[in-house]
Symmetry: C2
Subunit: 146 residues, 2 copies
């Protein structure tokens, strides 16, 4: 039986570079798994090998128990580029709930984080949102949901 | 301040077809938002328009409050194909925590759900996992974490 969401799986090209980005955003490393090499991993994922480096990240105040399963594939190496547009078929973004989005965006801009729009937009009733991009081009949406 | 994860955003080509798949998997529609058309949505997402149809889905027993933000873009229409491989850069999968993965997989196979491998594999200590694919090719990992 399906109980709950467990994680969002992101494949990056440079684990340390991505960790720095998500830490700047306000997430923390909750588990530094390190290198994993298991035949079953390749089999389950439909790949010839299963050799990767893994870190789990989550917002420090989160109660959902969800985490980002941040993976740098070693064998086989990572391929391709992340989706270039937000209307691209697939998992093209994940969202983080934030309090005080204006202050959050201002603070993140001061730390060098860039956004797709100048300011948060209003979507529906009481939803304010803005989108940033991780070092591999992964879209990360910040949402204030009043 | 970032509080928690909010959702996983999936763009599909056919909303009803994807709803049927996720309901077969065991998720439920928690909110049928319907069509949304807002200029701010296009601006925030870096797209010329913001016209889409949206449904939120989650496992009925979930306590995380997370949901899938399942989107069918209308203007602009959806583009491209989902990542073909699990070592592709980007958000190439999300994971659901399941109890009794063997019985879950057997039950899902009887409902026509297909998996990348014949049986769940063992990854690390106490983690058993298998991967299925949604109608657009999005990888969905099931994980039993003992």
């Amino acid at each position: 039986m399906i109980e709950d969401f467990l994680h969002v799986g992101i494949t990056c090209r440079d684990l340390e570079r991505s960790i720095r980005f998500y830490e700047t955003l306000g997430l923390s490393v909750v588990s530094r798994i390190g290198e994993v090499e298991e035949a079953d991993l390749g089999r389950v994922f439909g790949l010839p090998k299963g050799h990767l480096a893994v870190v789990h990240l989550a917002p420090p105040a989160a109660t959902s128990k969800l985490f980002i399963d941040l993976v740098q594939w070693l064998e086989p190496p990572p391929i391709g580029e992340s989706y270039p547009m937000l209307n691209h078929v697939g998992i093209n973004r994940f969202a983080l709930r934030v309090s005080n989005i204006d202050a959050t965006v201002t603070a993140l801009r001061e730390r060098g984080v860039r956004f797709l729009s100048d300011a948060p937009g209003t979507i529906g009733e009481g939803i304010r949102s803005i989108v940033t991009v991780d070092p591999d081009g992964v879209f990360v949406q910040l949402v204030e949901w009043l």
